[in-house]
């Protein structure tokens, strides 16, 4: 198979070629050790061609004039990753038990577990940060006109991700199971119920019955930590694929400059993958 072009390493990091006539064609043990990492990467890449995808994703052309506003999407993704990691570890201590175990386990996490307050705080405040970042990212895309052809599907997936993020906030709010969580969920489920025709059945689905009952909490917990995170992760993948496939849009204040060379690829509106 054709060898991939060498990564753009600075000169000092590139392996020195042996002088002509020296050595017997084999690598010295130290050199072999130094290149062990590359050998492993090469071994995997020869069988998966993953580096092509990585290169396609990371070493792509971007239009002139990109700025810090373009980092809001990545920031949102990292907020999600932070929520995912802290959430997994909170799940090791949390018990979705409506008879009092849930609140007790939250108290244990906050007051006694080592770094529990920190990890719970990261999850709690990170949730607000993620919602804020989602809206800032959406505002950037809106005001820069980046939702226009051919990126409409990216926008639609983004809107679904926004809805799922709000649903995460709603289901996660119940889990501490204190008075605030309980009554906020009562109110939230009843707001759901005001939807004509389907509302009553939707709130029955959320509560697992006509009243807030024994399995409401575990239902919210399952939705919060299994159903929606899976959907969000899958849709982030689709969102990123489209971003890479279509390229990012130029800032709206850039004008097309008349170029002396019509073959030039440097015109901002031509930037493509």
């Amino acid at each position: 198979m054709p060898r991939l072009p060498a990564p753009p390493l600075p000169k000092i990091l590139q392996p020195k070629p042996q002088r002509p006539g020296s050595g017997n064609g084999k690598l010295a043990p130290t050199d072999a050790a130094a290149e062990a990492g590359l050998t492993v990467v090469d071994w995997i890449d020869e069988r998966t061609s993953l580096s092509g995808g990585v290169r396609w994703m990371l070493f792509r052309k971007v239009p002139r004039g990109v700025n810090w506003f373009y980092t809001l999407g990545s920031a949102t993704m990292f907020a999600f990753l932070s929520q995912a990691v802290t959430g997994v570890f909170l799940a090791m201590y949390y018990r979705p038990d409506a008879t009092g175990g849930a609140y007790e386990s939250m108290r244990y996490i906050t007051d006694q577990a080592f770094l529990g307050q920190l990890v719970r705080g990261m999850h709690k405040w990170g949730a607000s940060v993620m919602v804020i970042l989602v809206f800032l990212h959406m505002a950037r895309v809106f005001f820069f006109g980046a939702y226009k052809y051919p990126r409409e599907l990216t926008w639609i997936i983004g809107v679904v991700l926004l809805i799922l993020t709000i649903a995460m906030g709603f289901t996660g709010y119940l889990l501490p199971f204190d008075q605030r969580a309980y009554w906020a969920t009562i109110v939230g489920v009843n707001i759901n119920g005001t939807g004509p025709l389907v509302g009553p059945y939707l709130s029955d689905f959320l509560r697992a019955g006509p009243e807030f009952g024994a399995t409401t909490l575990s239902r919210f917990y399952a939705i919060h930590m299994l159903l929606i995170p899976g959907l969000i992760a899958a849709l982030i993948g689709a969102h990123l694929y489209l971003v890479t496939k279509l390229g990012i849009s130029a800032p709206p204040w850039l004008r097309v400059e008349p170029d002396s060379d019509p073959q030039s690829e440097l015109q901002p509106e031509r930037a493509e993958v």
């Binding site: 409506a98 009092g100 009554w183 009562i186 119920g193 024994a214």
Partner: protein
């Protein structure tokens, strides 16, 4: 006659070049195979999706049983003020399953709705009909007041101010063996006609009773 049709190719036979296919054939082995594999895949996916979905949606369709709960003797309840009683709405979940009912004896001079064996004692649910916060009875004002968004109800539980969309829900009551017992919840419209229990925020006047239909999960009063 037969010769005239012999060389006409059927427009349905697209895969006539495949080995083993013949002219006029519409379902080749390949198409049959494709269809069967897709069907098997669909059956396999449905075999785990449908039970899981039914499992998740089951609570919508299973009717919750209820028990009559004794709350006191008739002399406990005057007809000019309310007595708060703690009820178990959902058994087995501790505090979460409890709710408060405000109970008084029926006063025919103000309770003009039709009297029957189930409303000799008026039991109002403390659940606000705006979004479900707990209302409290304020004796000095003879009003029910909701702390969340300022819903106000009069002495009969009929909305007099704020965002609630209908009067406070009620519970069936009856007297058995000298004890006042409290039964399932029901909702009322602004004329205090009974409806099966609806969630807060769902109006029952006019078109409301059709926009927010009866659910399959709520307790019903047994015929006795």
């Amino acid at each position: 006659m037969a010769d005239r049709h012999k060389n006409v190719k059927s427009k349905y036979t697209e895969e006539r070049d495949m080995p083993g296919s013949f002219e006029g054939e519409t379902v080749t082995r390949r198409r049959f195979m494709t269809a069967s594999v897709h069907t098997m895949g669909g059956v396999a996916a449905a075999a785990f999706t449908l039970p899981a979905l039914g499992f998740a949606l089951g609570p919508l369709f299973s009717r919750v049983p209820f028990q009559w709960q004794p709350i006191g003797v008739p002399s406990d309840f005057p007809n000019n003020t309310y007595v708060a009683k703690v009820l178990t709405i959902v058994p087995g979940v501790g505090e979460v399953g409890k709710s408060i009912a405000y109970v008084r004896a029926r006063d025919p001079s103000i309770d003009t709705e039709h009297a029957d064996q189930y409303n000799q004692f008026v039991a109002l649910s403390s659940r606000c009909m705006h979004l479900g916060c707990p209302v409290r009875f304020t004796p000095a004002a003879q009003r029910f007041i909701c702390p969340c968004h300022g819903g106000v109800y009069d002495f009969r539980g009929v909305r007099t101010g704020g965002p609630p969309v209908r009067p406070l829900d009620r519970f069936y009551t009856r007297v058995r063996n000298g004890l006042v017992e409290i039964g399932p919840r029901y909702s009322v419209n602004s004329e205090l006609h009974r409806f099966s229990p609806r969630d807060p925020g769902q109006p029952l006047d006019g078109i409301g009773q059709y926009l927010y239909p009866k659910r399959f999960s709520t307790s019903v009063l047994p015929k006795d």
